[in-house]
Amino acid sequence: MEDTYIRKILAGDPEAFRYFLKKYQDMAFHVAVSIVKDSYYAEEVVQDAFMKAFRGLKSFNQKAKFKTWFYRIVINESFQRLRKNKREKVSYAPAEEILVLERNPLFLSEEEEQKELIAHALNQLAPKESLVLGLFYLDDYSLDEICNITGWSLSNTKVILHRARKNIRTMLGSTIKSSNE
């Protein structure tokens, strides 16, 4: 299916790229925001990643999975942005904090409140930890596939995943209990 769209784009039909935008924008955004921790930066990262993917389609090996190739671009772009922000000492945390506090918990349903808490906890995790959780649980990637996408060693990936699980459990102890009830 994806091969057909790639062939169309390479034959000069840019409209076919909309298929990839529709399919991957949400997950790419989740990956980017879990690394850069800010919605606006994440949106910029995803934009740049899609543009890079569009320009680089000619060099894409069609035997490989588009999804894996594209995620590698998103992850690289996100870490580049993170390094750039650190160099320029850009602070992103306050904006997210304000966003969370602006929503009055009194007006949130229990489910919405849980979502807020989870999003907040994921935001507190280290970029690599929230990234690995997303790839492992939401995208259903195996550890080997995560290594392939991120370029980390298997032992390093296992350590990061273990630490991520432990940290998110600590942060969301009560939420986990209530979601089980």
Partner: protein, 113 residues
Amino acid sequence: MQDDELKDDELFTIMKKGKRTMPFNDFEDRIMTRIYEETTYKEVVSNKLKLSLIFFVIGIASGVALTLLFSVFGKPVLGINPETLALPILFVIAVIAIMTLDNFLRLIRKYNH
């Protein structure tokens, strides 16, 4: 430690709840606009490059022809024989042609869609 051992349902539920989606509704259209703009720009640049390459080749060919004509029919300049003068001129034209062609090819490759 197997992958399945790590995948417990609790965290799966939590991650599903915490999944972030693109909050900007016009994202798709903005990207498509950028793509169309870039494609059009590349087409325009590519066409102009091809045109300038044609004129460059015409210019070089005319330069070589005029130099050769000058060497055959020209009069001595500052006492130097036109045949002797033509050689360094042709050499300079060749160097400029090679350097510029290299730049042209690189640009055409860059903007070729």
